[in-house]
């Protein structure tokens, strides 16, 4: 018999600290698989945002820099400009990227920096204990929107992938989910494609992954997957919003 599924080389052999059923683990694996697929492990540098994924460096068997909350795209810009032949990606949550880091992500995309952004949208601040995120759905209760998110008070859930896709500098932009095997397979290809874009010097690539946070959603993992299907996907449609063709982003 042949081994058809094993732990990717780019993940260290340790267990995640994530809660049961948390999609961060799945996303870590998808990213590691993409790195392995193109044999990039020895020339990839990850930039960790601050959130439940701040321990990226404990799990990936690659070089990692930790960025201040929200600033991973700026840190990645500095890294990539200094090392244009390395592969650089950021890994950021929705609080990190869409709230405090809004300015950095927009401008990094707009500059068309040749790097990849892995954006984990779980509609909540996981690490700090379940506060409202910019992507929290209307009506969704969180610890800082205890009566449910109300647009008059807190505005609307932001659709980042759509917004990033409108920027000239963006070369690849897609949204995927992980709640079903079918979605997962698409996600796998999409993440891979994002890295491929970077390898081909195509410029800025961005993947938004709809993820569950069973703990802060107050649901068991399977129910959380259902919520992704029933509540998240309708508001955050899946798909590839932009894909520049050609071999170079010029």
């Amino acid at each position: 018999m042949k081994q058809v599924f094993k732990r990717p080389r780019s993940l260290k052999d340790v267990s995640f600290h994530f809660c049961p059923g948390c999609h961060h683990g799945t996303i870590h694996r998808l990213v590691a698989e993409a790195i392995d697929y193109y044999d990039l492990r020895e020339r990839t540098i990850g930039v960790a945002g601050v959130g439940c994924s701040v321990f990226v460096y404990e799990y990936f068997d690659i070089d990692v820099a930790e960025a201040p909350h929200g600033r991973a795209p700026a840190v990645a810009t500095g890294l990539k400009r200094a090392l244009p032949d390395r592969i650089v990606f950021t890994y950021q949550g929705d609080g990190d990227l869409a709230s405090i880091g809004m300015s950095e992500i927009v401008h990094t995309a707009n500059r068309g920096e040749n790097l990849t952004v892995i954006f984990v949208n779980n509609t909540v601040y996981g690490m700090t204990g379940g506060q409202m995120a910019p992507t929290t759905l209307l009506g969704q209760p969180t610890t800082t929107s205890p009566y449910g998110r109300d647009f008059l008070q807190n505005g609307y859930p932001i659709r980042m992938a759509e917004m990033i896709a409108t920027l000239e500098g963006t070369s690849f932009c897609a949204r995927v989910a992980l709640n079903t095997p079918a979605n997962l397979m698409k996600a796998k290809k999409t993440v891979r494609r994002a890295f491929e874009m970077q390898m081909n010097n195509m410029g800025f690539s961005f993947v938004e992954l709809l993820a569950s946070c069973p703990t802060n959603w107050g649901m068991n993992p399977l129910k959380a997957n259902e919520r992704v299907e029933k509540e998240l996907i309708p508001y955050f449609p899946l798909g590839t919003f932009k894909e520049r063709k050609g071999t170079d982003h010029q």
């Binding site: 018999m1 042949k2 081994q3 058809v4 599924f5 094993k6 732990r7 993940l11 267990s15 995640f16 994530f18 809660c19 049961p20 059923g21 948390c22 999609h23 961060h24 683990g25 799945t26 694996r29 095997p181 997962l184 397979m185 069973p214 068991n220 993992p221 399977l222 997957n225």
Partner: protein, 67 residues
């Protein structure tokens, strides 16, 4: 003709694998692991097709698959 190995110390009992296995081969064990979870086990290896759906959905990369 498949085979899976579940790393019971890594398993957090999320039940994703059990929910996607087309053969419904995966169920919860009765004994807690060192992390305090009741990890999953495979009922019988014979029926496993090695489709790897279980492994693909496992957020904790706790399953390896052979075919």
């Amino acid at each position: 003709m498949g085979k899976i190995i579940i790393n019971r110390e890594r398993c957090k009992a999320c039940a994703f694998c059990a929910s996607v296995c087309p053969k419904k081969l995966i169920f919860f064990s009765q004994e807690v692991n060192s992390q305090g979870f009741y990890p999953v086990e495979i009922r019988t290896e014979d029926e496993c097709t090695g489709c790897a759906l279980c492994a693909e959905t496992c957020p904790d990369v706790a399953i390896e698959v052979w075919r």
